[in-house]
């Protein structure tokens, strides 16, 4: 069984995001890390590798910023890695899916896993669009996967619905599943894993090598970035912790009458 995991390097959650005078994102200032949702996807693939001897390829599209995330996937136990090099993030989901599909097509994975969304842009589209490009079935919001065996023709998928309800479905392979946090407990790479990852294959390719003379046109363009309009903030309590807590308890008791 062949499994591919799509990973994205996202802007660090704590990052301070600044716009230039022209309203452009100051990318050079930003640091990137592996998208949290994708971490769970990698773990799920590695578990399948352990159970069914699956080959796991981690794939990422982006600048040099993604290499660290690919290395992490290898250190966790992925078999090999593919880096599709671009000069910039492809902010458009359809373009990203088109390029990823060409990189995966030759490998013919039985199962492709990806995070449900990216932590920074949160479009939650690439998995589904990729499945369409490859002609695969697809399910999003996966919180459980049962792979019956190495030659599985279908997988049982537990999808999470709103309100924490679940829908169990059977999806015929080949398929793309998008993975939600909490499906497993991602492992930390061990020293041994990190050492072993250095000998693993990390293939670099460009969109041009995949047949894209120019990058696919965006279906959604970002025309403007701005700071969200300020909203009314909470009444912020002042002073040291003792004073803040005393004042809070007074307010809750005397003004709000909830204590």
């Amino acid at each position: 069984m062949r499994i591919a995991v799509c990973m994205k390097a996202v802007v660090e959650p704590e990052a301070r995001i600044e716009l230039s005078a022209a309203g452009e994102l100051q990318r050079s200032e930003l640091r990137y890390e592996l998208n949290e949702y994708d971490l769970y996807a990698v773990e799920e693939a590695i578990r399948a590798n352990e159970a069914h001897d699956a080959e796991v390829t981690v794939v990422s599209l982006g600048t040099e910023d993604v290499v660290q995330s690919l290395r992490k996937g290898l250190a966790m136990g992925a078999t090999n890695a593919v880096h599709i090099k671009t000069d910039d993030d492809l902010a458009d989901s359809a373009a990203s899916a088109a390029v990823l599909a060409e990189a995966l097509r030759a490998r013919q994975p039985d199962l492709v896993l990806a995070g449900v969304e990216s932590d920074d842009l949160g479009g939650s589209q690439v998995g589904v669009l990729l499945a369409e490009r490859l002609g695969y079935n697809c399910a999003t919001m996966t919180i459980g996967v049962e792979i019956p065996g190495p030659d599985a023709k279908e997988v049982k998928v537990r999808r999470e619905l709103e309100g924490g309800n679940y829908l169990d479905i059977e999806v015929a392979l080949p398929a793309v599943l998008t993975i939600q946090t909490g499906i497993n407990e991602p492992r930390y790479p061990t020293l041994k894993g990190i050492m072993a990852s250095k000998r693993k294959e990390l293939v670099e390719m460009t969109p041009a090598e995949l047949g894209f003379g120019q990058l696919p046109a965006a279906r959604v363009e970002t025309v403007e970035l701005s700071y969200p309009p300020p909203r009314e903030l909470a009444r912020m309590l002042e002073g040291g912790p003792d004073e803040m807590v005393a004042e809070l308890l007074r307010l809750l008791r005397e003004e709000e009458k909830v204590l």
């Binding site: 949160g122 589904v128 049982k156 946090t181 909490g182 279906r219 909470a234």
Partner: protein, 322 residues
């Protein structure tokens, strides 16, 4: 006649998801004809219900639409959308329709989908505004290419359409679906876990977010809940870490609560959490980051280390109670 805006109705088990009316509200706000599109094995009751708020209802019927499958919905809607060319197609950014069907339909229609919009407009095509980079920036996005353009709408972002005196006309159509080609077989549905305590009943809720840092600190918050006579609850990452049971999770994929007092500690205020708590009467937030979005929803805020606040809350409440 103004341009048609199709709003895909969300429903399960014969019950309409009332937030569908927000789509119709968004369609009216865009100045379009608000058309509800309902796909079901027996769409008549839902169509009737929608007709009181929509200008028009398209009811697509087929046996294979008895369960939601993205393939079934896409096969029902795509050919009709190609033929009639509505100006835009809207759906909720829900787990059911928004995430599975939205991108699938956009792909089949070769059009752009703007995700999780909080505002919509026209500018030679559909434009949508959405919060990105953890709500630190607002992006204005535009769908490229020929219509119908698509968008998913954040729950709660648009006012629901009001019911009108003259119900919209209902058009009944039989969908053409190849049931063998759906790729999904629905096996069953299971209700969310409730857990030992039902947090939706509590009048006071103390919530630990990822900022609590470890199991021990999360557990130590029980002291505070005992003193307040309330319940302990959490955000999703705390459940994912295994520090709390799933039944304690507040948010879009957990419980919706409306206590008299909500105290959040180490909670950043992501929209998926906020939708489950913003109706609370009094909201208190403790976060070490003054820019955390939770302060936009709170009545009282403290920029501090939660451990220091937790300890003092326990001490001072003990004193107060004698």
């Amino acid at each position: 006649m103004s341009v048609e805006i199709w709003c895909i109705a969300e429903h399960r088990g014969g019950v309409l998801d009332a937030d569908t009316l927000q789509l119709l509200g968004a369609a009216r706000k865009l100045g379009g004809t608000a058309v509800a599109v309902v796909c079901a094995a027996d769409p008549a009751p839902l169509a009737e219900q929608l007709s009181t708020s929509a200008d028009k209802v398209i009811a697509l019927r087929h046996e294979a639409l008895s369960d939601f499958t993205p393939g079934g919905y896409a096969q029902a809607i795509a050919p009709l959308a190609r033929e009639r060319q509505p100006g835009a197609i809207l759906m909720l950014h829900s787990h059911f329709l928004g995430r599975d069907l939205g991108p699938l339909l956009a792909s089949r229609l070769e059009t752009g989908l703007i995700s999780d919009c909080t505002e919509l407009g026209w500018d030679e095509g559909l434009v949508g505004w959405r919060l990105v980079y953890r709500r630190k920036l607002l992006a204005k996005q535009k769908a490229a290419g020929a219509p119908p353009h698509m968008a998913t709408c954040q729950r709660g972002a648009f006012m629901p359409a009001e019911a009108s005196d003259s119900p919209g006309e209902i058009e009944n159509l039989e969908a053409a679906i190849e049931a063998d080609s759906l790729g999904w077989k629905v096996l069953g549905f299971e209700e969310a876990e409730v857990g030992d305590e039902d947090i939706t009943e509590a009048e006071v809720i103390v919530v630990g977010g990822r900022g609590v840092g470890d199991q021990e600190t999360f557990d130590s918050m029980r002291e505070l809940t005992k003193l307040l006579g309330g319940a302990l609850a959490s955000t999703r990452p705390v459940v994912d870490q295994g520090w709390a049971d799933r039944g304690l999770q507040i948010g879009s994929s957990g419980k919706t609560v409306r206590p008299r007092l909500y105290i959040g500690m180490g909670v950043s205020g992501a929209i998926q959490h906020v939708v489950g708590m913003r109706e609370s009467d009094v909201i208190v937030a403790v976060n070490k980051d003054a820019r955390a979005p939770i302060f936009e929803y709170a009545d009282y805020g403290m920029v501090a280390d939660l451990k220091e606040i937790l300890q003092r809350l326990v001490e001072q409440l003990r004193e107060m109670r004698g």
